[in-house]
Symmetry: C2
Subunit: 448 residues, 2 copies
């Protein structure tokens, strides 16, 4: 009876457009999370609604900005709530909804699949159920292996009970690119630990590259058989990591507040590698982010806006969007009417999409920055960094989170939500769709 | 003999692509200006090469950033050199080259017209000579009328000789959107003068809206007969001025360092109007720019990037480019395959152009900001404001110009040059043109 009611309720709600449905579901999850975090047993000291809402939003959107110290402010129960919100938010509610319905033996009707399609950004509806099951397996395997590996680090330090919990928490947080850590200085104390520097970045990359790429890779058909999307994601991710690694190391090597504080060359190289992987969307850190030089902070903001892969736990405008922006620019100067990459072409209608995405993203970030700088006296760069971090659901901070008042928190909450639900979903609400009309005569405009 | 030599030399040099030719000509003018400003008679105190180069570049690119006080550091002769550089730079060297050749009775061959076409961004080659003559008349009339009007303000204050020179200087500087002023605090002392607040903004708008719009308007055929470009420019310019006026007044009304320092409501409204017109590209100011609140500075940076009209003395990505970016975003959400405005459509290939322009602009601004923040300890917002001001050839400053070392100056000089020659010209150099090849099979990529 209950499953049928749920199913029927979902069927009815499907009349609203899928993006709206998704946004509402994320909103409900945040509200539930807020209520749970307000329970007396969840925190070591009473917290306000604003703290709970901020934390729940940060967890569901897998951002990682925090106004309450996750390790010290929440009890084990509270931490488990945060972890559950991260897992639900990271994998996408729709994945779970379909999973639950299919486990209950209900037919997975087309309407659910259409919602799922919006969430996972898939074009072929038929493959989705298989994809969801594969997702579930991948998540389980990665998070368990990650927990096992991290246990070698945390258990000797903190004992079995606490150590295993820490290992599980950070494995799930890393795989979901959430960036929540149980230590107030994120992973700084593990800056020189090789196992942490291998396990956490590996989880981040696998969780953030996108399940479509993972399932493409699993088929083991060699490079040439990969889809254009997988090729772009693999090359783009590798390129961005190499670039971020080199630039970060060069810029910060002698900065006494960041890399310069680490004892030797291996530690500095490890910290550069860790930060190169985590900055685009995961949001862990092993160096003091507030201590970064200004140009490094600027580079970080760019990386945070780029983000990770589509159909992943990552945020930002996505690596492929960034690549298409570059390909479009190259196409213009080469006077081509289509974009090219790896022997495939991408049509101009995709350019319209990336342009719209970039414009709405710019609008969101600018409006938020405008509101936040208008109501806070803090350092402009720190506030810009904070807003960008929220938009990319990254969670790195130069310390501005603590200075925010209620309005500032509301802005950051809204930006995290938009960053996770996707700027294009916002645009969907802003614009009313019009029926196609007759063609207008064309005209030229002088540009640039 | 000489004209034929010049003509032949230009003919030969035309084998290099027009954008390159333009960039070289601007470069030659800057070099000549630098040498002239180094003459002992040009300055009241000896200046260095770096000061002269910075000033010459700022004048030729009609930016208005200055490292030497134009009124106090240069003699009348030096000021005249600056003014000549402004006039040559503002109208575009090509306009002058063709004018000179046609005045000498030489046939204006197609190749010159093609260069001119690049400079004025015109598509119809046939109308160009007429356009150039019309430009010359417009400039002369506007600058003389402006001088006459401003003389009513300056002559009673400073006597005939100095007053007339000040009137001419500021009229030419305003019409060319150059922003150079003979007073160290720009036009601040005239914040409450109605005649200055009418004449200077009028000259700025006429000079910055683009000659194609002016010649369209001169035909007096009513709104419906105007070209799409003219309609977009008129509506866009009016909209941006109204928006900037309202936002500036609201944000700064009680700021004791800016509008709050002015005695009454009329003065504050006048200063808001003045700043609303001048910020996008002219670069005069009647309030202290360093005293602006951070959100106002952010809004100013956006206005400076937008700039003025194509085929004008203005800089920035241009108003029409900004409008097309918005129209493209709207078109995506309305699921249209063409952009629409005023009953006309704009094709997707224009979207590729604006996207390329925006990306190259972003690259220029980010790279410059990276270099400047990496080599200067100054306030991030002040440096970002300075770079944006240089890119938009605006000339407003929060005071960072004085703090720049040689490297910082070199970066700002490069950005002013690129901002004036046009980011697309830079892209032209960066990319090698390839012959069109066979079509690639198309593929899809997940975005956003
Ligand atoms: K994150
Ligand atoms: K200017």
């Amino acid at each position: 009876m209950l499953p049928r009611l749920v199913s029927s309720a979902i069927h009815r709600s499907i009349r609203i457009p899928p993006p709206a449905f998704l946004a509402v579901l994320y909103g409900v999850l945040i509200a539930a999370g807020t209520a749970l975090l307000m329970l007396p047993g969840a925190t070591t000291q009473p917290i306000g609604w604003s703290d709970a809402l901020f934390t729940a939003t940060s967890a569901v959107t897998v951002t990682g900005l925090s106004v309450v110290d996750t390790g010290g402010g929440f009890t084990g129960f509270g931490q488990a709530i945060v972890l559950a919100l991260i897992q639900l938010g990271g994998l996408g509610l729709m994945t779970f909804a379909v999973l639950v319905l299919s486990l209950l033996g209900l037919p997975v009707g087309l309407p659910h699949r259409i919602i799922l399609r919006e969430d996972l950004n898939q074009t072929s509806v038929g493959d989705l159920l298989r994809l969801v099951k594969a997702i579930f397996r991948t998540v389980l395997v990665c998070e368990l292996v990650g927990t096992g590996l991290l246990a070698f680090v945390f258990v000797p330090e903190a004992g079995w009970r606490t150590g295993l919990w820490q290992a599980l928490f950070h494995a799930v947080s890393a795989f979901n690119n959430a960036g929540f850590a149980l230590f107030p200085d994120s992973m700084t104390r593990w800056a020189g630990n090789p196992l942490v520097n291998l396990t956490v970045p590996a989880l981040i990359v696998i969780g953030g590259i996108g399940f479509s790429v993972l399932s493409d890779l699993r088929k083991m058909r060699g490079w040439r058989a990969l889809s254009l999307h997988s090729k772009l994601m693999l090359v783009g991710t590798a390129g961005l990591i190499v670039w971020a690694f080199a630039a970060f190391a060069v810029l910060e090597w002698t900065n006494p507040q960041t890399l310069g504080a680490l004892p030797g060359v291996p530690e500095r190289l490890m910290a550069s590698w860790f930060q190169a992987v985590t900055t685009r969307t995961a949001g862990f850190n092993t160096v003091d982010i507030a201590g970064l030089h200004d140009p490094t902070a600027l580079m970080f903001m760019l990386l945070m806006v780029i983000g990770g892969g589509s159909t992943s736990t990552a945020g930002g405008i996505k690596v492929t969007t960034f690549i298409v922006l570059i390909l479009a620019t190259v196409a213009f100067f080469k006077r081509r009417s289509a974009l090219r990459a790896f022997g495939r072409s991408i049509g101009l209608e995709e350019v319209l999409k990336v342009l719209a995405l970039a414009m709405v993203s710019l609008l969101v970030v600018m409006a938020a920055l405008f509101l936040v700088t208008g109501t806070h006296d803090g350092d402009f760069l720190a506030l810009a960094f904070e807003v960008t971090s929220a938009f990319g659901t990254v969670g790195l901070s130069r310390g501005a989170t603590g200075d925010l008042d209620e309005l500032g928190r509301a802005v950051i909450v809204a930006v995290m939500f938009i960053g996770r639900v996707g700027p294009l979903t916002l645009g969907f609400f802003l614009a009313t769709r019009m029926p196609p009309r007759t063609r207008y005569p064309s005209a030229r405009v002088f540009l640039g």
